[in-house]
Symmetry: none
Subunit: 208 residues, 4 copies
DNA sequence: CATGAATGAGTATTCATTCAT
DNA sequence: GATGAATGAATACTCATTCAT
């Protein structure tokens, strides 16, 4: 009896948090950060306004939690790829595929996050403090860093030209991946799209 | 006498319009669309609030006018490049350079525009209607189309692989350009950066 | 065994109530009524939120209980003074001293109470109902009444002028005492301060 | 025609400000600072919410403006009294009368102001910042200072005992005045009440 | 009795837009 | 045309209180 009640209790409270997160995911994804209102989130989560503030300190922290919980498992996956023993050039394609899969899944939310964070140099230009912006920056800068690691490994083995700046190439590759996702260039066969990108990146567009 | 007064009147009017546009450019560029307030714009333009609404129907249309007036001369330039008789592969580098120059100049405003517009499929997700969003989309889709044209020309002359989808490649190239600008990868020597990008795009990252 | 557990239970209960009252004393004293939150009180009392509502019907009644429990022993003391056989004019100084001692001890809490209650004629002006306000009014009106009693005794013995309205004089004397406390005019030697006030009140400021 | 229109324009805009101030006076006076809502003020002022914020930066500054505009003419009056050539002891009664008149008129608003400001040593205990509190403190500390000045003048002429601390006496006298006002001890004949207070203060309560 | 998760009424403030002068 | 006073819809966040366990 006891553990059942406790379980219910546990699930109940976890449910509220989960319901809020799911509602927030939906609302932020479709409305963007600014146009997403707490009122809409609680309506969707079927909860009271105060409940949101029991679990999250404010709207921004709710958003951040969402981002974090989404990217966490992804981080694990790409670290696995980076540290695998796959040949470097194949690793490039594998990691592209992982990115495509992740971004395709969370395209809308990520679009919003990048809306708020990316490329905004001047502080005060968004509603976030510089400190907050930094938190988010870390989030995808780390993942871009993973691409860079793979490129550096390939370079160290003489497979990629020394003239190619790994940091710049990683950012470029990342932006192409994002563009493909946001432009709906990713068909049903993600593997094929990954191959297309990898092929273009590695061997160039020129006919030989 | 009369035509002088009218001229003054005319100039005054144009001045007001111009002052507002210049102030709007500064404010939108530094604050982004949402955080830019009409109050701040009129303060900088040294004009009255109502005056803004004499020349522009609302904030959004003011922003759009700004975007339009900035991109117009750029459109002319790249059309000149596209229609020139330069060899196709060199034309790729030339057009990349033109993009870098333009985006570097208007980096902040464009960043803001893309913030608001890019990848936002669902209407109601920004403060803009779908119709409005489309207007902006056209703006840079047309320019991406110019890149595509250059690639197609090169393809038709057998210089670029048939397996390379021109539309996708153009979007990818475009996103890399934008990334370089927003990430401040563009040094003082824009020509060199253009060459770096073109080289990577055309010949790939792999060591031969 | 059983009565021990019950005793513990009993003490636990009383402890909880006492802990809450002590925490409430600290929080109300330092934050004032409105800015004192139940959350802060339970944090300090190391108890659950519901527990507060087991012992007190609401925040206001908790506050009232506090006021009551503080003033009760004071009431006893001044009644002792009033009913003592001390000569009336000396009694004035003695009662002033008692007031100074009490108010100095509970200065902060009393300040808060008077903030909420004092002089608020119209109901709805504070968070308290008129009925609630009256309860508090009674609290210090009764003590002012004690001063009045002493003055009336002195008057009946011809020691104080008939032209002096005892009620008004009592209120005036009371307000001076309170002012001395709140303005920190009370030095270490409370007896001396009491003498200063009594002397001024009884013999006036004029040089003779 | 022109100056008429301008006058109307002038009056219109001044009217709004005035309407808001009058409404704020009524609402703050009857509800106190915290329970006074901007909504209630605009309802009474028959104006839009934004209008309030066109004239006043926020609720607190609206309140402060009210206090300032009320006390300004009073300051002038008591300075006139202090600097007059009236005999010092009569000046005491005159200034008491001025205080009674002012406080009787603005009793409710002043009650509220003192609620928020007076005697609150610990910062953070009210909703006002320490800086804001200081502004208000100055307001009535200056007026108490005026009483002190009168007492010092009398003292310098040997009319008031040296043993009587002017600062303490001024505060005491002030508190008595306030108490008389708040307790409704001030009858229709303010002059008589002023005399009662002055007489008690100067000559004491003791029968001679 | 003790607990704390859930609740929602209540509120100051911002800012694009209008319109009378 | 130029102006700016007036407007009010829209929104994040707090906190006393309840009640199921």
């Amino acid at each position: 009896m006891k553990h059942i009640r406790e379980n219910i209790g546990f699930h109940d409270s976890q449910n509220k948090r989960q319901q809020i997160l799911e509602a927030a995911y939906a609302v932020f994804s479709s409305k963007g950060y600014h146009r997403a209102t707490v009122d809409e989130i609680i309506a969707l989560a079927d909860t009271g306004k105060g409940t949101v503030y029991n679990y999250f300190v404010n709207k921004e922290q709710l958003f951040y939690t969402l981002i974090k919980e989404c990217s966490m498992p992804f981080q694990v996956i790409i670290e696995g790829i980076v540290n695998s023993s796959e040949p470097p050039l194949e690793k490039v394609e594998t990691i592209i595929k992982a990115f495509l899969e992740f971004y395709a899944k969370h395209a809308n939310l990520w679009r919003v996050m990048m809306h708020e964070v990316r490329g905004f140099g001047a502080a005060g230009s968004s509603n976030f403090t510089q400190e907050q912006l930094d938190k988010y920056q870390v989030c995808f800068c780390e993942t871009i860093g993973m691409i860079e690691k793979v490129l550096l490994e390939a370079q160290s083995k003489g497979l990629i030209r020394e003239s190619c700046d790994a940091t710049q190439a990683a950012h470029g590759l990342f932006s192409v991946i994002v563009t493909f996702v946001f432009r709906d260039f990713v068909g049903e066969n993600i593997g094929k799209t990954a191959h297309t990108i990898a092929d273009l990146f590695l061997y160039g567009a020129v006919e030989r």
